[in-house]
Symmetry: C2
Subunit: 191 residues, 2 copies
DNA sequence: GGCGATAAGTTACTATGGGTAACTTATTTG
DNA sequence: CAAATAAGTTACCCATAGTAACTTATCGCC
């Protein structure tokens, strides 16, 4: 039996993808070197390049996989429910479960950049600010509940802001309305 | 009047900070070189390093400024309101206005990383998915409204997931509850 | 006004890591 | 079993983050 030293294309690609995922998750995308990915596979750098073209390409391949899985998981969860409320609840739950079982992805999202840490600090600041507001209105709520709600508000605002940046037709007032539409009624009930 | 060729520390720092902000916004943090920042100021690279230590340090200084401004702006807006609903509405509006008047920041947030673009793609996918759900429940809503609400849900989920990653005591069910607490009541009203 | 001392700046370099060109060899196929 | 092909390697280039050693404008002081 010849000790196979050269693998067929598809198999090597899988190996490299797995290795890349591990290395990126471990050291962060910026700090991960292509050399490290290659070494983990037991191969030299140009091999990785012939398969994925660039460091960016390698990351894209990783994310494409996650993207497909995520859509599949949430769609399946939604299909299993009947009433609208259950549909939203189940697909949301499926999202959280997907992310928690693939630590690599959440790591990638949270700190893939040097800016990431600093931005997290800003988000934390705004989350504290919102939680402070909420605390005054809903004295009965637990600290965890307040923090969770604050994260909802801050996350929603960030996405809305980025949406607006790419589509200036959306005014600041409209963005605010959309946030308030969804969030305020529930908040009023809790107060 | 001697043409000042050497500036005092504080003044140079301001210049560099402004230049860095412009360069980072223009080319993205990763693709921006320290050389480019220095050149824009009309100075050589080591000068930038003596003031801010590293590329990361320079970015941190930029973000620290934004962070302080953002807190100030939202706090002031909140203080100007009386009823809870107005407080949340006004501070949210202040946030959107702050971001829109400082394009540099939103740029920094949205694409500071190579991963950013790919992640935006995943978010767009999930936003479409949620907007699709909502469309079925609220036939009267405009497309923009549906998209805005979907962004609220997706943004909230992302933040909650990252919160959970850093605090495993929060279960997937709890995170889902916090999202539903705020979002569902408002959604039910719109359906 | 001239004269150190100090801090602002420059030149010229190293090191790291993304990316590639040219070459070598295992594996497959006729 | 040879020729073709695809898998890999070596050895490099180049951009850019970061630094050490040197130079000089500016300021405070007599």
């Amino acid at each position: 039996m010849p000790t196979r030293t050269r693998l067929p294309r598809a198999e090597r690609e899988r190996q490299i993808l797995d290795a890349a995922l591990a290395v990126f998750a471990e050291r962060g995308f910026q700090n991960a070197s292509m050399e490290a990915v290659a070494e983990r596979v037991g191969v030299t750098k140009p091999v990785v390049y012939t398969h994925f073209g660039s460091k960016e390409g390698l990351l894209l391949a990783c994310l494409a996989q996650a993207r497909a899985e995520l859509l599949e998981v949430t769609t399946a969860a939604a299909a299993g429910a009947e009433r609208p409320e259950e549909t939203l609840r189940q697909s949301t739950l499926a999202f959280f479960r997907y992310v928690e079982n693939r630590p690599a992805w959440s790591l990638l999202c949270a700190e893939s950049t040097v800016a990431g840490e600093a931005l997290e600090g800003i988000r934390a600041q705004q989350t504290d600010f919102v939680a402070g507001l909420l605390a005054a209105w809903a004295p009965g709520a637990s600290a965890q509940q307040l923090t969770g709600w604050a994260h909802v508000v801050v996350g929603a605002c960030e996405r809305l802001a980025i949406w607006r940046a790419g589509d200036p037709a959306v005014t600041a007032e409209q963005a605010t309305d959309y946030l308030m539409d969804l969030v305020w009624t529930g908040l009023a009930a809790a107060c």
